[in-house]
Amino acid sequence: MAYLGNRLLSLVLTLFLISMVTFAVTHILPGDVAMIIMGTQSNPEALAGLRQSLGLNEPLLVQYGRWIGGMVTGDWGTSLVFREPIGPLIAQKAAASALIVAMSMSIALAAAIPLGVWAAVHRDRWQDGAASTTALLGVSLPDFFWGIMLILLFARVLGWLPSSGFVHPADDFGGAIRHAFLPSLALGLGLMAHLTRMTRATMTGILQQEFIRVARAKGLSERTVIWRYALANAIGPVVTVAGLQVGYLFGSIIVIESLFNFTGMGWLTYQALLNRDIPLIQATVFTIAAVVMIVSLLVDLLYTVIDPRVRLG
């Protein structure tokens, strides 16, 4: 429990640091949201009026205090450019991103575990080479390039799947999955490659251990040895690594969501950055960082449950 308490305390501390970094960075961004709102219609007088009404003229410390206070009490403010309340906006867009993050994770794990095991079992033979090269190819291409190729193949040439847009699962579940499929696949390929390599490495280590030799000596079938005994031990580290990749996925969705016009958190973050929409940048960036921190904490905790050998403290 002391361990958990420590971790939570350090999480809060880090979140606080993150909030300061986020706030500081957004205020040194050049450009001016009032400009963006008025476009080429702007002139000094109107800009000054708008800045005042947006609260951009207050001292930074006051703005920071109000922001942090608002975040804690659940009032995340209003987007300056889009005039939407930020809290509900983030909730809505984060849900969309959660869909592709979950789907890409499932796709990656479903492909990586069998492929990694297969490579480890046939270590240093052609199967290993084939699996490893496939995996390498996956990490060697930018995910947006995978995205472009998938659009070309599945949307343009074959016409099987829609190439863009987001559909709410509540409105049309099948449609939601179909729209999320290509971006998830584009995200999942790079992840799959990484996890395949991880599975192979972990399995290789485990297959050399004593208990595997014992199990084989007892006459258990090779299938049982590998899928029951070895994999059961490998799954912990693999899932841990997968969990830690959530941060990587949140980086990638900025590009992928823009490419697929999939209006989730990544798309929203990019829009906020392009428009210098300060409260929206702060909220999106902070949310992403917080999710990454919390997921890695959960993964750590989960790992201590799965693998009691991990020393606590």
């Binding site: 867009k93 863009s164 798309w267």
Partner: protein
């Protein structure tokens, strides 16, 4: 937010030549019903029509709001929410008599108080209103009865009425509704706002009590799809009934598709190349003329617009009385350009120029790269700097920190709005440091000239002056395009005379 067009020019006008093959079935009786799914090229922003400065958002809002006056196809100002209007002899008093059958989407009837409220809100820069300068000369707004509004000016402002028809400046909203307009716009237009799922779609529904008769369509669903090729795919697969802004290089191909129709019109907007007149080399008119001579406008238009435009030297709306038909673009002459540079004291390689261009308009990036080849061939050491829209606005528009750039504007049909804003030394759109006493005098004279013909003559002089002194290099008018399924009818009515706004009132689906 790419490719956001700005400066919703306003209301407008006419003269929109429809070039596309229009269905020859215009005599069919329109059918009522159905929701039209429109693949809109932009993400809508602030929905408050008084505050929003982007044409993309204006394009949607135009269906929700109505203006006090509007224009006919020939760009003449005509009554709209006001059933009549008159200007006093001295040009200082405008009297509007309001229609009595106008209902807002919230169920209330429009009265003079709503008009006064809307004008005062639009006139106050503190509300963030973008068109407040339209009302600069306004002294008082009186409402002697529920259906009369009298606006008194402190000085003559010839373009006042026309400006009310432009850009949402004359849009009337219910008294006191200002605070909610940004999220849930309420107006008196043919469609009422239902909801917006930010970044995805905007839903509009027919407003049955619309004063000019209910629309044919039950609703319009504007799906925001910013990727041009994705929009095109949606049209091809039938997911979308129509799209605006067909990728320039694909227009010919869509025209050849029997299942689809293309509506194209001329012009959507115009483009020009700018010099910073405060940058030492560009103070010399010979240098500016040299750059003009380096550009092959027709080739540039073919290259950047894939032929979807027409080159010009006069930015006035082509059919407008102010358009100067006697001037034409200078043909390319690299040898003469080099001579001029030499005369001005710049030998080959001695003039360094940075050209700032915004990625908001990909065809500007292409244009800059094409021009770079010519400029280099003429011995200019040129580099390109690509800027995001926000950086372009703050560096070029506000800080005037640039040497050369290019921009586009919607065709502002009201010449005062266009020429005074753009070329007067105190003009709101003069980001080039242009300060020319002779030109200022012309523009000021036009503003207080109430005789229309005389006023138009002055603007023709202005165009010739800009060209003779190469204050900017005017390039072309760009075409606007809509692609649609054959089932979409009444598209001949969709484009507002100003060329930038779309109105769905008379559009219908032949399901």
């Amino acid at each position: 937010m790419k490719r956001r067009d700005f400066l919703a020019s306003t209301a407008m006008i006419g003269g929109t030549a429809l070039l596309g093959p229009l269905p020859l079935r215009a005599q069919d009786a329109p059918k009522s019903g159905g929701t039209l799914i429109w693949g809109h090229s932009e993400t809508t922003q602030n929905l408050d029509i008084h505050q929003t400065g982007t044409a993309s958002t204006g394009r949607v809002l135009q269906n929700i709001h109505e203006s006090i006056v509007t224009v006919d196809a020939d760009l003449n100002v005509i009554p709209n929410l006001a059933e009549s209007f008159e200007m006093s002899e001295d040009g200082l008093t405008y009297t509007f008599r309001l229609r009595r059958d106008v209902t807002f989407h919230d169920g209330s009837d429009m009265t003079a108080a709503d008009v006064k409220y809307s004008f005062e809100r639009a006139a106050d820069p503190a509300t963030g209103a973008t068109n407040f300068e339209v009302f600069n000369a306004v002294d008082t707004i009186e409402t002697p009865d529920d259906h009369t509004v009298i606006v008194r000016l402190s000085q003559v402002n010839a373009p006042f009425l026309a400006r009310l028809a432009e850009n949402g400046a004359g849009a009337v909203m219910p008294e006191g509704s200002g605070d909610i307009q940004g999220e849930t716009p309420i107006g008196a237009g043919p469609f009422r706002f239902v909801r917006r799922e930010f970044g995805n779609e905007v839903e509009l529904a027919r407003f049955d009590a619309y004063f000019d008769g209910p629309a044919h369509l039950e609703g319009v669903l504007a799906r925001e799809i910013t990727e041009p090729t994705v929009r095109l795919t949606g049209l091809r697969t039938g997911e979308l009934h129509m799209i605006n802004d067909i990728p320039l290089d694909r227009v010919a191909e869509i025209e050849g598709d029997a299942n689809l129709q293309v509506v194209s019109w001329f012009p959507l907007n115009w483009d020009f190349v700018n010099f910073n007149h405060d940058y030492e080399p560009f103070r010399d008119p010979r240098v500016r003329e040299a750059f003009d001579l380096m550009i092959d406008k027709e080739m540039l238009m073919q290259g950047a617009l894939w032929g979807q435009g027409e080159i010009t030297a006069a930015p006035s709306f082509p059919t407008h009385a102010s358009h100067n038909d006697d001037i034409s673009p200078r043909p390319q002459d690299l040898a003469r350009a080099q001579e001029l540079l030499q005369e001005a004291g710049y030998g080959p390689g001695e003039l360094k120029v940075v050209f700032k261009v915004t990625t908001n308009y990909p065809y500007h990036v292409d244009s800059a790269q094409i021009m770079l080849e010519w400029f280099r061939a003429a011995g200019v050491d040129m580099t390109i700097e690509q800027l995001t829209w926000s950086d372009w606005l703050s560096q070029v528009w506000v800080d005037k920190d640039f040497q050369m750039t290019m921009m586009n504007f919607f065709t502002l049909w009201e010449p005062d709005f266009l020429y005074y804003s753009m070329w007067h030394s105190t003009g709101g759109f003069n980001y080039r440091h242009i300060a020319d006493d002779a030109l200022d005098a012309l523009l000021e004279k036009a503003r207080v000239t109430t005789d229309r013909e005389e006023r138009m003559g002055i603007y023709k002089e202005v165009q010739a002056y800009v060209q003779d002194n190469t204050l900017d290099v005017i390039l072309w008018f760009r075409n606007g395009t809509i692609g649609a399924q054959q089932s979409v009818r009444g598209l001949d009515t969709i484009v507002h005379p100003n060329g930038s706004e779309l109105n769905f009132h008379k559009v219908w689906l032949d399901a």
